[in-house]
Structure formats: C-alpha cells, structure tokens
Symmetry: none
Subunit: 530 residues, 2 copies
Amino acid sequence: MNSSDVLIYDTTLRDGTQGEQINFSAEEKLRIAQRLDEMGFHYIEGGWPGSNPKDARFFEMAKEVSFEHARLTAFGSTRKPNTEAAACPNIAALLQAETPAVAIFGKTWDLHISEILNVSLEENLAMIHDSVEYLKSKGKEVVFDAEHFFDGYKNNPGYARQVIETALSAGADMIVLCDTNGGTMPHTLTAIINEVISYIPPYLLGMHAHNDCGLAVANTMAAVQAGVRMVHGTINGYGERCGNADIITIIGNLQVKMNKRCLPENSIRELTHLSNYVSDIANIPPLNSRPFVGRSAFTHKGGIHVDAVLKNPIAYEHIKPELVGNHERVLVSDLSGKSNIAYKAREMGIDLGKETSINKKIVQQIKMMEDQGYHFDSADGSLSILMKKIKGELKEPFILESFQVFNAKTGDNPPVTQASIKISVGGEEELTAAEGNGPVNALDNALRKALTKFYPNIRDMHLVDFKVRILEGCEGTAAKVRVLIDSSDGRDIWSTIGVSTNIIEASWQALVDSIQYKLSKDEENKECKV
Amino acid sequence: MNSSDVLIYDTTLRDGTQGEQINFSAEEKLRIAQRLDEMGFHYIEGGWPGSNPKDARFFEMAKEVSFEHARLTAFGSTRKPNTEAAACPNIAALLQAETPAVAIFGKTWDLHISEILNVSLEENLAMIHDSVEYLKSKGKEVVFDAEHFFDGYKNNPGYARQVIETALSAGADMIVLCDTNGGTMPHTLTAIINEVISYIPPYLLGMHAHNDCGLAVANTMAAVQAGVRMVHGTINGYGERCGNADIITIIGNLQVKMNKRCLPENSIRELTHLSNYVSDIANIPPLNSRPFVGRSAFTHKGGIHVDAVLKNPIAYEHIKPELVGNHERVLVSDLSGKSNIAYKAREMGIDLGKETSINKKIVQQIKMMEDQGYHFDSADGSLSILMKKIKGELKEPFILESFQVFNAKTGDNPPVTQASIKISVGGEEELTAAEGNGPVNALDNALRKALTKFYPNIRDMHLVDFKVRILEGCEGTAAKVRVLIDSSDGRDIWSTIGVSTNIIEASWQALVDSIQYKLSKDEENKECKV
C-alpha cells in the first residue's frame, strides 16, 4: 500500500460499463487502464472475467503490460451455493486473470439472500468465508464488496455485521460498504458507518456509492468524513441507472478542497483531460456542467458575474480552474484557449513557451480550428500531423487529384455504393475504384487500394473505430459533423479528426490524417534504426 | 403560506437561464410557470425585470394569468449605493412587475463588498435595510437572498450575521442562505447553519445551492435536516457553471424518500413529465442518468440484475419508478422486450394484451428490428408508422423509383454534392435534382422538392435535429449507423429512425418515415374536422 490519505479505486471499466450507452472494446479498456495507472490511481477494476469473453480478453492483454502505480483488480462473485471454492468457475476465472488484487461481492441484505439467491443465511456466510479464504490462500489481495450493505443494515443490522465480519475473519484486506441501489440518505449513511467503525477499524473500510438520489458524491464524502479509507467511483460517474459516484468530483473535493492526498499533485491538473479522454472513447458527449472538469464549470455568462470575476476570480469561482486543468471562460470574450493548446503541445514535445513565429502560428491555427468544431484533445494523430505540417516537417505522402463517391438506390433494393479516386505519388498517377457498404467505407477502400502500391505498410493498418457526432442540433441535415477515427497497426493506436457539413469530406480529412500519421511514424522509426 | 413541511421555490426561469445553453422566450417562460403552478410549486421566480426587457415582458404577460397555487416572484438587487430606495430603478422595476412576492439579493461576503461593490460595510447594511423596508411598505412579501452567505460566514461570521439580522429587522419574510460559488462542503454547511439557527428561527430560513462540487442536492438536504424551511432549485438543475440544485431530485428525496410534504401527492407522479417538458422547451437533450426522472434511472442492462428485478424490483430499485411517473426498463433480454413493446404500444393507443395475429406480428417485427439496432424508445414517429403499416392502415404517400447521390472532390477544393430522385405519386412520375452541403442534405432537399408539388403541407415541416450514432465500434468505416431525425411542423415534434451500414440509406429511412408521419397526421386531422 502507500501513504495516501484516501485510496482511489476506479471501476469505470467494470461497473461503469453497466451504464446504458457505455461500451468499451478490450483495447479501449487497456488504453484507459494505462492512463489511470500513469495518473497514479491506486486500484483499477478491469472487468468481470467470469461474466464475458471481452473482459477475459482484456485481462489476457493486460498481462503484457506492466502497471507502475495501480493494482489491477479482477471482479467476480463469491463461490456458487453448495460448491467448493476451488471448483467454482467464477473463482477460477478470477485467478486466471492473474491480477495482484481481486474484488468479490457477497450478499448482505437478507431479503436478497432469501428471495433472489434462494440460499440460507448460513450458506451465504459460508460462501463468503470460503471464497475469501481460498483467494487469500492463492496470494491475492482481496477486496470484499458488501453488496446492498446499507439496505441490509436497515433491515437486519445483526446479519449485515456478520457478513462483513465473516469476510474480515476469512482474511479480506478491505471491506467495501456498497449503497448498491443508491437510495441511502447521507444522514442515515453516516449513522450506520459510525456504528460499523465501533467494531471494524475505518482504515479497513471502503465506500461504493450509486447516484439514484443525486447523492453518490455526498455519500462518499460522508463516508470519508467518518474515516473510511477507500473510495470507489467511475470517470464521469458512468454506471447503470443514474450512475456511480463520479471519481473525478470526489478527488476534486477531497484533494483540492479538503487537502486530503489522493493522487500525485501533478495528476490533479490532468483531471479535465482525463474526463474528456474517457468521454471521447465512450463516444458520450461530455457533460458541460460536470463539476470541476466540465466545459461550463468556470464559465460566466455575462453581466455582474463577468465584471466581478475580472476584478477577482474568487468572486464567483470556488477554486482556481487551472488546478484541475480546466480554465475560466467568459462567453462573448475570447480570452482563453492558449494555455490549453500549450498544454497539448507540451505533450507532443513542442514547447510553445518559446514565442517563435512558428509556435504562434500553431496556436492560432489550432484556436481557429477548435472554433470550427475540431477537438484535438481526443485526436492526437491529427494534432501531431498539423504541427508537423506548420513546422514544414511533413512530407505529403500523396496528392489528391480527385475522388467521386456515388450512391444509388432503386425501389426497395439495397443501395449501391462506389468510389473512384485519382491520386499521384512522386509524379506517378494512380486511378482506381472500389465498392463499399456505405459512402465512407467505399472511399476508404478506394484510397487504400490506390496507396498500397506505393506504401505496402498501409496493409498493417486498420480502423478500430469510427465515430460521428453532430455539432449543431438545430441545422437538421445541414448540420456540421465531427468524425473521429481510431486506427491501429497492431503496435500503436492513434486518433484523427475531420469536421465538415459533409460527412464524406469530414471522413476524408480524418482518413488522410490517419494515413499520414502512419507513414510519418514508420519513416521516423526507419530513421531511428539507421 | 400553507401547511407544507418544505416550501418549494423554483428559479428555473431566473437563475436557470444563467446556464450556458439555456434560453427561454417570454412565452416559453409563461408556459413553464403555468405548468409549475398547476403542479403546486409554492414560489416561481420568473426573472429579473430590471436586468433585461425579456423578463419585463414576461411579467407584463403574467399579469393576464391567474396563478392558483404559486406566488410569482420578481428578482432584483438591493438599492444602489447612495440612492434612495424609492428613487432606484431596480426597485421600481420590481414593483412594476406587480407580483405578490419579490426576492432581492444583498452582499454578505465582506470581500465582495470592498473589492467588487466598493462601498463601506455600513452602507451595504443600509442598502439592505432600506430596500427591504421600502418593499415591505409597498405590501410585498420579501425573500432576502444572502449572496455568498457561506463564503462570507467563513471569512467574517460577525458581519454575515449582521447582514441577515438587518434584513430580518427590516421586515424580510424569509432569509435565504446562498452558497453562490457552490464550494461549500456539507459538513461545513451544517456547522454554519447550526450556528445561524441559534439566533434565527429555522422556519424563516431558506437554502440556495449551486453544484460546483456535485453537492448542491446534498447541501440542500443537509439544510433541510438542520430545519431550514424553503429550498431553491431549478428543473433539471439548469444554471450557470455546474448548475443549481436540481429541484426535482430534491423533491424526490424529501417527499418520496423522507416523507416530508413538498407538493400535492398527485404532482409527484408528474415529475418525469415535468423534467422532459422543460428539457424539450430548452432544447437540451435530457440527461438519461438524471436521478428519479432520467430515461435510464430504472433501467437494468442485463445478467443478474435483470433476473433479480424480475423476481422483486426492490432488489435493485430504491423506489417504485411509477411514484415519480417513470418506469422500469430492461435492456437485452427477450422477456423484457415484450413488456417494453406492450408499454410503448399502449402509449400509442394499441392494446397488445389482446393476442390477435396483427399484434403478434407487430411485436415480432419490432423485436427483430431492435435486434438490428433500431431503437423505438426514441422514435415515436417511426413506431407509429410501423404499426400502421402492419395493420394496413397506412396509405403510402409516394413510391420511390430511384435516387442517386453524387459527391465529388477535386484537389483541395470543397466537395460538390448533388442528388437526383425519381418518385411517383398516384401514377404520376416526378424526376428532380438538388444540391446540398452534404449527401444527406442534398437527398433531403431533392425529396422535398419532388414531393411539395403533390403535398404542399410538407412546406410547414422542418428538421429540428439530426443525430448519427455508430452502433458497432470495431467495424471501422463499415460499421452500422443509426440515424435519428427530429422533425417539427410548428405544432408537433416527432422522431424517426433509420439503421444501415450506409449512412445515406439510414437517413433515407428516417426521412421517409418523417414525411409519412406528417402526411398521415394531417390526413387524420382533416378527417376529424369533417
């Protein structure tokens, strides 16, 4: 363990994916896990390997990755009723994940045990005891999630206490009190935790809250106030029903407002980035009003607030927005933006602090494009290409002479789509055509076909994801769209972006950036080897 | 006043409109105010008549309306420094609004008074005293908002106390403690309120919270626990920065969970409707995860939760969703699919309980299409068209002979897009073409052009929103897309859907459904008139 005041346990990749529209591929999960590890999260719950093949694959892939800070955690249930722990496939799947820590949940609410699980209260305790003891015997750190702890406690406090004491006596390292239905009021929660800490030391306790009453963050804070050491949550509060506790808001409150140590100091400035990064991967529009990290979180609309903030920001800002990587915005004025770009440039190894004319040009260009709807936070590939272009470091791999995309439908028959493209590479022209199951797919196919002749390494490259978002709601079919493409060549993944009122044009921009990024990356690697 | 435990003070129309994307016309404000009145809200803060002409016009219009339950309230500031209250235009505007109640805010934080307002602490007290006294002399109920009360109290508790005691001694009916910057932690807030109630009776106190730390609801609940009688909030938590306290969540917690009386019992079942109604008027997509009233608030994604909920809903639902007008939804499982469809059909006036062959066919067809990625929950227009089609009640308004969409790009020039279409209506053919700023827009333009000749009422119709979502992340540009179109004819809004790997085909389906819905609706209305 370590010396933080509060242990941060992220379950975006497990409980977060229970959210209605949340879906991550195994590759996306791994990217998020690595990002959380870099930022110093203490625990990353990666998934439930016994419940679905995608999560099992995630843990397979994660074996090849070394985590510097975080303890990767696999989640599962206790052994089945009337089965040996060693013979239970759930438990076996947890061990196969080969993570340093495992989390298992057990039933705490007697209603659930008798009505849903249909076992005796004694067998439920035995299931918990055996599962924890067996996993401990295999050398695992064991986090025990007491499901429905508060509902259970309200109904039968003696039994709820027996459940967590059983887990503890079997060797569990941490007992997590779960408000699974999200229905507990903070004053009730505090009263119950105060009883619990009379028989379990608070540094062995964690809190897992759901947001059904809009109180997940408050309940987590109340638990920490009562002494609880571990907090569970998800990035952006993703999760089923009304979501889990938003771990970013919790970290903001604990570390920035209350001076408790959660993450390394420099990770706090990345919280805004982290929120946007995960929402882009999830393809869920970021919530502008999200505490600390939302686009509107430090935005002033006008009138007296703007005047006051210009005199002294603390007049209407509860913290300095820069502390969490956010920035003040004043609508109608165009004061902000530069530090944001500098931040991103630094990540790409470009120091915009030096006021050279090229750096100025980069900042201007990015601001102009972000005004138009580009969003470079989530398009590292396009940003890198753009910077290289302005610095004159990019060799254009091909010139587009022209393309046509043709889409036709007759009666009720399925549509037919064809694309033809003419490009030139070093003076040599190539004209080719391809079909596709949609206009963008046809264009993608035609471009690859034309380029493979000149750049065979394009064959390694494939698209991992293709996301479209409408930028302005009220323009109907004339609205601007943002296309985000994730590409991979098996070693790296990069993201590129295009914006246009024409989805084909927007996709074209993102496709071309992606190919340029791949070729430029391979070129640099070749030079390194020479 | 009345016998409720807690007085509900809605400020959607005033503080809510400080939200970045929130904009209501005076007419829209009046519709919302009437709705809130019908539901039994105690106070409706309608706007700031001294600050903008729109709000002044709202109060003019409101004079023609009689409110049954609510006290309409006009908001403003105290008199200006070194001016008579009777001579201050702010105060005059409040009186001109002719509302039974007025709310005025005064500075409580000494930092604000010296740095922003630039007056002496004594003059600030005089401004508060004179303004309250003058408004009382005019027969108004006066709500006094102690701006930045908690920040002020932390900095200079003696002065903060003087401020609210001054307002009270001048005759204020209610003292509202404002956490204007939204930065106060619940334990600090409770400690401060406990001090305040040692010298001001809690039934004269109100709470106004902002959500900058994700704690606005929790802080409001904590204030009520401490005895405070009036709560301020906005529908859906709209408001500047991270928003105000969500008044719907507060009412849910207080009345449904804690048995405190806020609104008449039957208004509680309207909370889901109210949330959607206001988000539609604001044209802000409703937040699916919103506590109590969100579309996902009682949605179960699969696996053990679904099984458990089917056995006993309280297993994973903290309240009966029907209490607040919401309903349980179960995703993925076939079992659930059916009840879900029955529910939707009932809403359309079709009773699927009767096991006729047509009803079976409708259920089968919808299930099959939902498996393919259609999503009828959000496409009432398409669902209605589909049901009418299967029941043989739909007159097809046109036959598509063929269309072609052509998109070309040369070098760096902007792309060119054209669509041509051939349709027939009652044996008469029409061939036409149009341009657009993207392929779907061109097709949309061509279709309308062709149809307007036969159906002039299509001219009333326009697209309000066009949304695209990729359904499968890992297929790259070959992925399936779901297109959702919202259309309006000025009277109604309806949503239609299309799904295909080809975005043009998916858009085509949604466009055709939308037009069919409009024509079939107008046809029915015509029959009604005859």
